[in-house]
């Protein structure tokens, strides 16, 4: 008999406890993140944004690609299509820019002043970026350094089929010049699958290039490396003044 009434008491009291909780919960602000209208809510309620290192849409800095096709080869789904051709004799392209990636995913792009691809502990890595700002970091914080490379190939085609891509990021990891990278863009749905084939090759960067006389001579001559050095120095100067 006692158990009977205790049972009733337990049922009623626990129901009341539950009802109190749900009633209190009614006055809590909602946690819904109204996705397409998110921006406004993000500002007002400080909703968490996209993380650093998020793997979104692929993007490539075409002027830094050397056409090595490493990315196309490692891609597990073979969705990168690259076609290259040799440069006409005498035409040289600018060297690629160096890239330093820190462990907190900050990326600096520009001209490497100190440091190497092999990151020695206890040294510093120094880089001047395209705006002329100097960046410096102890090598413990550096994750990845890519030095400047020569560009010898012309890219006629560089297509990535994002409808096949599975966002594994392997292509960005092997890229010789770190010019292929993943952005935070994730809203690129289309109504048509074909429009997910992104064309990155840009013929305009090869336009207006004429065979450089001195360059050709230097290339032919014994001191080819000398000429190259001169050219690099000149370019550096140009960039500095600009």
């Amino acid at each position: 008999m006692r158990a009977y009434f205790r049972n009733i008491y337990a049922a009623v009291s626990t129901i009341l406890i539950g009802m109190r909780i749900t009633f209190k919960e009614m006055f809590h602000p909602s946690v819904t993140n109204q996705y397409p209208y998110q921006y406004y809510f993000e500002k007002r309620k400080n909703v968490r944004g996209i993380h650093k290192g998020f793997r979104g849409q692929l993007y490539i800095r075409m002027e830094d690609c050397i056409g090595c096709k490493k990315c196309a080869m490692i891609c597990p789904v073979d969705c990168i299509y690259i076609e290259t051709s040799r440069l006409e004799k005498g035409i040289t392209l600018s060297d690629t820019r160096a890239v330093v990636r820190l462990k907190d995913q900050t990326v600096w792009i520009g001209e490497l002043l100190e440091g190497d691809e092999k990151i020695e502990p206890g040294t510093v890595v120094k880089l001047r970026d395209l705006d002329g700002n100097l960046h410096e970091s102890p090598s413990e914080h550096v994750e990845h350094v890519v030095t400047s490379k020569k560009r010898r190939l012309k890219l006629d085609r560089f297509d990535i089929d994002m409808s096949l891509c599975m966002f594994c990021g392997l292509c960005t990891e092997v890229c010789s010049t770190s010019c292929l990278y993943m952005t935070q863009t994730h809203e690129f749905s289309t109504y048509d699958r074909a429009s997910l084939l992104f064309h990155f090759a840009d013929p305009s960067i090869y336009e207006g290039l004429t065979p450089d006389e001195t360059e050709t001579k230097a290339e032919d001559g014994a001191d080819a490396s000398e000429g190259r050095k001169q050219k690099a120095a000149r370019r550096r100067q140009r960039e500095e003044t600009a």
């Binding site: 129901i15 539950g18 749900t22 009633f23 919960e25 009614m26 946690v31």
Partner: protein
């Protein structure tokens, strides 16, 4: 001629009530979605119309436009009849609910008995739907609902009986009249506060009524997680909408009956205080009860079948009997 005019009059009243029930369902569905959303820290519908107020209308239109599927194996005649039976019997309850002093479609002298009788027909409709669907989910849901509704009708009737004993009439307006004193007066108080036994009777009524209308925690007939959708699994489009409409109409009806029987009906909270007298007061009281029903739904988990039966037969029915005797003794001694 006499007959014709009274027939037209009846039809007009029925149409008005039907419109009211439709409107009610629209409001209650939205209210339920909003209440559930707020209880779960969500925002609920808010895109269609201002603050989502037109969401239910959009849903209703969607349901009406959907294909009406009758499966080949179904018992066609019963399958078509069942939703109407369920809806009509829950709609007919509204005929005897007093909304105000003169606002009652038919103040018959057996009002509450009529309500009890006509609302029991719902169970026939549900069994019909379950059987005619020829689907195991629907049949299981229907069997459960039959067991549940038949069992819970007993405590429901017993708790209503204690009110009838006290008032001495089955007429709804008489029951309201017996509570005209409002909440605090010594005479003609709300039946809820008349004596401890009627206080208990209110809760017995409320629990059994929850079960009668298949609301959580007694929603076994439609338990989504076990039976897909219970007795209306095979229904689609318009016919499903009828079941849906009936559910919300029922929810309002049981709250309205609870208010009429125990909480003073349309009469005001304080005697002579006119603001909450009549329809506004009635609507407020009913809305509070409807809110409590929704609140319970979003708080409590569903009972198991054996728990459901033990709640009824081991707890509610003995207590209701004891209560009925208590009310009788109280009337003998004090009145």
């Amino acid at each position: 001629m006499e007959l014709l005019s009274s027939l037209i009059f009846m039809l007009v009243i029925a149409a008005a009530l039907l419109g009211f029930v439709m409107l009610l369902a629209l409001i209650l569905v939205l209210a339920e979605r909003k209440v559930s959303a707020y209880m779960q820290d969500r925002v609920g519908p808010r895109r269609v119309g201002p603050f989502g107020s037109l969401q239910t209308i959009a849903d209703a239109i969607k349901l009406l436009l959907k294909e009406d599927i009758i499966s080949l194996q179904a018992d066609r005649k019963l399958f078509i009849l069942a939703p109407y039976l369920v809806f009509v019997s829950s709609f007919a309850v509204f005929a005897a609910i007093p909304f105000g002093r003169n606002l009652i479609a038919s103040d018959i002298n057996i009002g509450i008995l009529y309500i009890m009788a006509i609302s029991s027909v719902v169970v026939l409709g549900i069994i019909m739907a379950g059987w005619a669907s020829n689907s195991k989910w629907a049949l299981l849901g229907a069997m459960r609902s039959a067991a549940q509704m038949v069992s819970y009708e007993i405590p429901l009737a017993l708790s209503i009986l204690s009110v009838i004993m006290l008032v001495g009439s089955l007429r709804m307006q008489d029951i309201v009249g017996a509570q005209s004193g409002g909440l605090f007066s010594a005479q003609n108080r709300w039946i809820l506060l008349d004596n401890p036994f009627t206080f208990l009777a209110f809760f017995i009524y409320f629990i059994s009524a929850l079960s009668e209308v298949n609301r959580t925690p007694f929603d076994l007939p439609e338990a989504e997680s076990e039976l897909v959708a219970g007795f209306h699994t095979e229904y689609s489009g318009m016919r499903f909408a009828l079941f849906f409409l009936a559910e919300y109409a029922n929810m309002f009806a049981v709250s309205a009956i609870a208010v009429t029987l125990f909480l003073g009906g349309w009469s005001g909270i304080l005697p002579g205080y006119t603001f909450l007298n009549g329809v506004p007061g009635f609507v407020i009281k009913v809305s509070v009860l409807v809110f409590v029903i929704m609140w319970l739904r979003w708080t409590l988990p569903r009972l198991r079948v054996d728990q459901l039966m033990s709640v009824c037969w081991k707890y509610l029915i003995p207590i209701a009997f004891f209560n009925l005797i208590g009310v009788g003794v109280w009337i003998l001694i004090f009145d």
